[in-house]
């Protein structure tokens, strides 16, 4: 009974964390889908968002939900900046160039963060009560993170399906030459997608801080880059919606394995969960390499 209680608690937490993972990966998939660029510096933008949340909270008492809006704006600005300064010039170049360039952007951001804020681990806690679900108690902060992630994903979906710009972007994703002859400014949409992708990523960094009490530091991004890659592949790589659902699956596997591993005597579950999550995903990908939701 005790196990079942713990396990269902873990699953609920997995769903919540999964939503944030999904949001964290949508930007990566959007950028890949439109520009065919794998953003290796992805995690560094999450780190930027985490620091925005931290400083806004500790300096001005700004709650993370408001920081998220600020992070989105900062992220969009950063996205446009790096697009026009770096990415724009590399789109015709071999794939390795964009990999190296985004890798360099990631290192650059992390080093700037270290130079300005130092290498320390930081954290804050946003106490807004908690929700008792019987099997487990969840801080309201996490509930807000879950709800915000879903709202943002739905908003992005509607933007894609219902607006003129969203439709044009679908055209660019499908066939860039076809989009061009319809009078769509293909390069303009490249810039916009990169900016929105980075904006979403920086914003997700704000929500990530609600799950890592003392984990904010300049190099925190690396682990999220890897997780986002796995989630993106799970979701079929080029689809932001696939990524969102991939996030749920990853969150469930990561958290669900915690309780199960705890049953094995002599095993310290925390360090093993991440290993197991990746192992399960590896098996999944071997069996279904196009991703769980991807098309053949």
């Amino acid at each position: 009974m005790e196990f079942l209680r713990m396990f269902s608690g873990d699953l609920i937490n997995g769903i919540i964390l999964g939503a944030v993972y999904g949001l964290m990966t949508m930007g990566l998939s959007l950028i890949f889908g439109v520009l065919k660029v794998v953003n290796v510096g992805h995690g560094a933008f999450i780190m930027v968002g985490a620091f925005i949340a931290y400083w806004m909270f500790t300096l001005f008492g700004l709650p993370p939900l408001l920081s998220a809006i600020l992070a989105l704006i900062v992220g969009i600005a950063l996205g446009f900046f790096f697009y026009y300064v770096v990415m724009k010039w590399l789109l015709e170049a071999p794939e390795l160039s964009t990999l190296l360039a985004t890798f360099a952007i990631g290192i650059f951001l992390a080093e700037v963060a270290k130079a300005v804020w130092g290498p320390d681990y930081r954290g804050y806690s946003w106490n807004v009560g908690s929700l008792n679900l019987g099997v487990t108690t969840i801080p309201m902060a996490k509930v807000y993170a879950l709800l915000s992630s879903i709202v943002i994903a739905v908003a992005l979906y509607l933007w894609f399906k219902k607006t003129r710009a969203g439709n044009a972007l679908r055209g660019v994703v499908e066939d860039k030459e076809g989009a061009r002859v319809c009078g769509i400014n293909v390069e303009g949409y490249y810039a916009l997608s990169f900016a929105i992708g980075i904006g979403l990523t920086v914003m997700s960094g704000v929500f990530i801080t609600l799950f890592v009490p003392v984990g904010i530091n300049p190099y925190m991004g690396e682990v999220y880059t890897i997780k986002a890659f796995v989630i993106a592949v799970l979701g079929g790589l080029a689809s932001p919606w696939g990524a969102f659902f991939g996030g749920f699956i990853f969150g469930l596997v990561e958290n669900g394995s915690y309780a199960i591993l705890g049953l094995i005597p002599g095993v310290e579950p925390f360090s093993l969960t991440q290993c197991l999550a990746f192992a399960i995903l590896l098996v999944l990908l071997l069996l279904k390499p196009e991703g769980l939701l991807g098309k053949k």
Partner: protein
């Protein structure tokens, strides 16, 4: 209507077009014939602006549009049916068609354009919800032509519309092109390798070979000029 003067273009270090000049007269079908790799697609793509011209000038209705980005040219009334169709495979037929009405000018005329293309292409009206990628080759070609008409062009470039189609379909596609051209008063620049049908449809023909214009003249002249036929068209 469209005038190209000494156009040069290429890819990376490789020059493909060497000072090409041609003229597409208003209300006519002008054709650009030539063998594989002659530079026909390169000419059309640099005219629309999907690749940047290295030199020369392009005039549309008397205005210098050489360096204008392609979306501005489409807004002005130029467009291209690209080689190899380029439909949006996972969007529906209807979504594909509506994408053609993206520009401000075209979106104002959308209702009217829809009526027009549904009369021309009844097959597209029958399957609005089908994914474009699942259409047959001929249907996809019709769809790209319909989509290009939705942009309300005055000047339409067509890059090998007969490519990969069964002979019967080729005839159908060309009939449609002729009908559209005369109904809408379009100016057409047609790129083809199918010599016979092109000489029938076009009024004036340019022969492109290894990136230069080797001959030009009315269809009749070209048809009867033995030299041109043997040297560049291989027939």
């Amino acid at each position: 209507m469209l005038k190209i003067v000494n156009l040069e273009a290429g890819y990376g270090p490789m020059q493909v077009l060497w000072k090409i000049s041609l003229n597409a007269e208003e209300g006519n079908v002008t054709a650009l014939l030539g063998p594989n790799g002659a530079g026909k697609s390169t000419t059309l793509m640099s005219t629309l602006g999907s690749i940047k011209p290295w030199g020369g000038e392009i005039y549309f209705e008397g205005k210098d549009v050489t360096t204008l980005p392609s979306h501005k040219k489409v807004e002005m009334g130029m467009t291209l049916v690209p080689e190899g169709r380029h439909v949006f495979p996972n969007l529906t037929v209807r979504e594909n068609i509506l994408m053609g009405a993206y520009t401000k000018r075209a979106s104002k005329l959308m209702k009217e354009s829809l009526d027009l293309i549904y009369t021309l292409f009844p097959i597209l009206k029958e399957r609005p919800g089908q994914k474009a990628g699942t259409l047959s080759g001929g249907q996809q070609q019709m769809l790209t032509i319909a989509r290009s008409l939705m942009t309300r062009p005055k000047f339409l470039m067509l890059d090998e519309p007969s490519q990969g189609l069964a002979p019967k379909l080729v005839g159908e596609v060309f009939e449609t092109i002729q009908k559209v051209q005369s109904d809408m008063g379009l100016t057409v620049l047609l790129v083809e390798q199918n010599v016979d049908i092109t000489l029938e449809v076009a009024k004036y023909v340019y022969i492109l070979h290894e990136g230069t214009i080797k001959a030009e003249g009315t269809s009749d002249t070209i048809k009867h000029s033995e030299d041109v036929r043997v040297a560049y068209l291989g027939i």
